[in-house]
């Protein structure tokens, strides 16, 4: 390097570092001047990138809805009876866990928010768990399906896992299918496809033994890569397999593609089950109004007045109905937070203790965590009329009997 470039380098370096530091300072040090009479709640979710779709359907609308409601009602009630408005600090994690981790650090150490709401997705929730633990924040992980929740609860004492694990959903489905087989409404043969990511694999691993135990015969068991957009070949294979139940542990847009392909090729198994996306409010539109009888993950008790009211206000405020799986649970977790704050205030340890042991009234009904996990969940739902109705566990109050065989498309 010549003398000349060196001079330029030094010069540029000084300039860039001062600009950089200046920017960094404003970034780092413009902590919010939050007033003492507000509660600051922070979250980092994916507003761009591949996770933006899921977060934009399940997580963000509920956060916004809840904050709006609470503030419209005068704010969060504190144990002393006073009310404090919520002030929100939100960041975009750009669907990158590295950015997410940094955003959480910022929320905890720079913004010093009173409470941190979780991001969307299993991986994202796991990525921030050690941090939340270190900073002492309770983590109400809603959109995170993991069979390892019992271990995580031991590892991170203030983490709460509210969406069950893959085995639960697989077992629930196996029960539904076994019952149908016993009733003679389908032939006991299952064609199963799954998406090759953590979620799909979890479910498949749960489903294989669960199906075997339930006396079901797996006539097709294939895994396709994330990002597959054409299902014509897979579906024609499924159609040819003679299976009475078609099961796709898929993500949108895969679950939607599967539906459309089945419709266009006139594939009408007795049971048509898809993974994530089946409970989305846009699903009936995607199925061209012929969603009746389609099964999927989750479900709601469509007859519950609380759920009906929740659907109505979500539709009024956000413009679309919520999804019928994790949305209501997300909203319920916020209600739990609201009630816990009213009982014990904002102290993190007290909040965690309250989440762990308290009983809450939410849109889901009376809600209580077991071993820091929400276990009172719906594993299988089915489109019946305008609702994505819960059908399993069949013995839980509010369950509806499944319609099998599904009406033809």
């Amino acid at each position: 390097m010549t003398y000349f470039t060196r001079r330029a380098s030094l010069c540029a370096m000084t300039a860039a570092l001062s600009v950089g530091l200046g920017l960094g300072m404003t970034t780092a040090l413009t902590g919010p001047a939050h007033a003492a009479d507000t509660v600051t709640i922070g979250y980092a979710v994916s507003k761009s990138g591949p996770s933006a779709t899921g977060a934009g359907i399940t997580t963000i609308p509920n956060y916004e809805l809840w904050v709006k409601e609470v503030n419209a009602a005068g704010g969060l009630k504190m144990p002393d009876g006073s009310q404090r408005m919520i002030e929100v600090i939100e960041y975009d994690d750009r669907s990158s866990n590295q950015d997410l981790v940094r955003a959480i650090e910022r929320l905890a150490t720079q913004d010093k928010v009173d409470f941190i709401l979780p991001p969307w997705g299993t991986g994202a929730n796991l990525a921030i768990a050690p941090l939340m633990d270190r900073f002492g924040y309770p983590q109400l992980a809603v959109t995170s399906v993991t069979d390892m929740a019992p271990d995580f609860v031991k590892r991170w004492k203030r983490s709460f896992w509210m969406l069950g694990g893959g085995h639960d959903y697989a077992k629930g489905l196996a029960e539904v299918l076994a019952a149908a087989k016993a009733a003679g409404t389908f032939n006991g043969k299952v064609a199963m496809i799954s998406v090759a990511d953590g979620f799909g694999i979890d479910l498949v691993k749960g489903a294989r033994p669960a199906f075997a135990e339930a006396g079901l015969e797996l006539v097709m068991d294939e895994t396709y890569p994330l990002g597959t957009s054409d299902f014509a070949a897979l579906m024609s294979e499924a159609k040819a397999s003679g299976a009475g139940a078609f099961v796709a542990f898929a993500y949108p847009p895969g679950s939607f593609g599967v539906t459309k392909t089945a419709q266009s090729m006139g594939y009408n198994p007795e049971v048509f089950y898809i993974g994530v996306g089946g409970a989305f409010p846009i699903y009936p539109g995607i199925a061209d109004g012929k969603a009746e009888g389609v099964m999927s993950i989750g479900g709601v008790d469509g007859n519950s007045p609380a759920i009906q009211a929740y659907f109505e206000k979500h539709t009024a405020e956000i413009g679309t109905p919520p999804d019928s799986w994790a949305s209501s649970i997300t909203y319920a977790s916020l209600e739990m937070l609201q009630q816990a704050i009213e009982r014990v205030g904002l102290d993190h340890a007290a909040l965690a203790e309250e989440f762990s042991t308290g009983t809450f009234e939410t849109v889901l009904g009376t809600t209580k965590l077991e071993d820091n996990q929400l276990r009172d969940l719906w594993w299988v739902g089915q489109w019946q009329g305008d609702h994505f109705t819960a059908v399993n566990p069949a013995d839980r109050a509010g369950a509806t009997a499944p319609v099998i065989p599904k009406p033809e498309w």
Binding site: M1, T2, Y3, F4, T5, R6, A8, S9, C11, A12, M13, A15, A16, L17, V19, G20, L23, G24, T26, T27, A28, K47, S48, G49, E90, Y91, D92, D93, R94, S95, S96, N97, Q98, D99, V101, R102, A103, E105, R106, A108, T109, Q110, T122, G123, L126, A127, A129, P130, F135, M148, R155, A196, D197, G198, G200, I201, K205, T223, P225, L226
Partner: protein, 308 residues
């Protein structure tokens, strides 16, 4: 003298920084150290040869994945060693097969490579091991990650500086200007490119391995995020990929700017990002350093003559 003393002083200062900073400040430093390492090691090969590689994330992700697979089986230093070894082996393999490609074909090949690696790992995990998504539970504090990354960044810069003064560095510059002349001057094109590519890829793999404990949960879709490759390229080019300090000068301000935008404009962040990119291409096509140099030249048009 000052050329060694100043960076050394800066390094010491940076190494002490975690003691004074909040966790978030440290998080920022980790991010910066990471991207400085990526951009600098990327430039080690691509800066002079002008082979734009988009395979950064293939190696970065491989490093992270190696840690995820081995972190319970081996002690941490050995895991790092293994990651470096795997990265180097992969780079040799890729290097040997891509040396024929030039220009945009090389760009696209490297992009495809990242996707292929990701798909193959996914397929392997799904069908052979039956697990997808691995956990990294290592007792490594953010400060320790930072120090490791800082050391790696310093090492990369030192290596680059050293290479600039060795035949290898000269050879890379010649290749960037004219491969035909390079060959006729006695430069073994294949060997030079292979050595530089492997060095660069090994460092990138190590960076991925070191940063991975911060993710806890690792899945191909998470670690093979193509944005990393693109950001690396942009940062290096913004600063000036063929200068020693260029990649650093691009990485630090861009990183802070991204952070600033995502904090203050979470909804419209991609729009700002895009507009900024376009602006950089139009206003500073050869990087900040070259831009500054040009500015100085314009002020003192005789500099070059005076120098001669």
């Amino acid at each position: 003298m000052i050329r060694i003393a100043l960076p050394l002083a800066g390094l010491v200062l940076l190494a002490l920084a975690p003691l004074a900073l909040s966790d978030y400040g440290l998080g920022l430093l980790i991010g910066m150290a990471g991207y400085v390492t990526l951009a600098s090691s990327w430039a080690l090969f691509s800066g002079h040869t002008r082979y734009i590689s988009l395979a950064t994330v293939a190696f970065y992700g491989t490093g992270a994945y190696t840690v995820a697979v081995l972190n319970e089986a081996l002690p941490y230093p050995l895991v790092l060693l293994a990651a470096g070894g795997i990265g180097a082996a992969l780079a040799l393999l890729v290097g040997l097969s891509t040396l024929r490609l030039a220009g945009v074909y090389f760009v696209i090949f490297t992009f495809g490579l990242a996707e292929l690696v990701r798909q193959l790992i996914t397929w392997y995990e799904v069908t052979i091991t039956g697990t997808l998504g691995r956990y990294i539970f290592l007792d490594i504090t953010p400060a320790q990650i930072y120090w490791q990354l800082l050391a790696l960044a310093a090492l990369t810069l030192a290596l680059t500086a050293w290479m600039h003064r060795r035949p290898l560095g000269l050879a890379l510059r010649v290749i960037g200007d004219d491969e035909v002349v390079a060959a006729h001057a006695g430069i073994n094109l294949a060997r030079v490119k292979l050595v530089a590519f492997t060095l660069s890829a090994t460092i990138i793999t190590l960076a991925g391995a070191i940063a991975s404990p911060r993710w806890v949960y690792v899945e191909p879709a998470i670690v093979f995020n193509p944005t990393v490759s693109f950001l690396t390229v942009i940062m290096a080019l913004l600063g000036g990929a063929n200068r020693l300090w260029g990649p650093l000068l691009g990485a630090v301000p861009l990183f802070l700017l991204f952070e600033y935008l995502s904090v203050h404009f979470p909804d419209t962040y991609p729009i700002f990002l895009g507009a900024l990119f376009i602006a950089v291409v139009f206003v500073l096509p050869e990087g900040v350093l070259a831009g500054l140099e040009k500015l100085r030249l314009r002020r003192r048009p005789t500099t070059r003559e005076a120098k001669a």
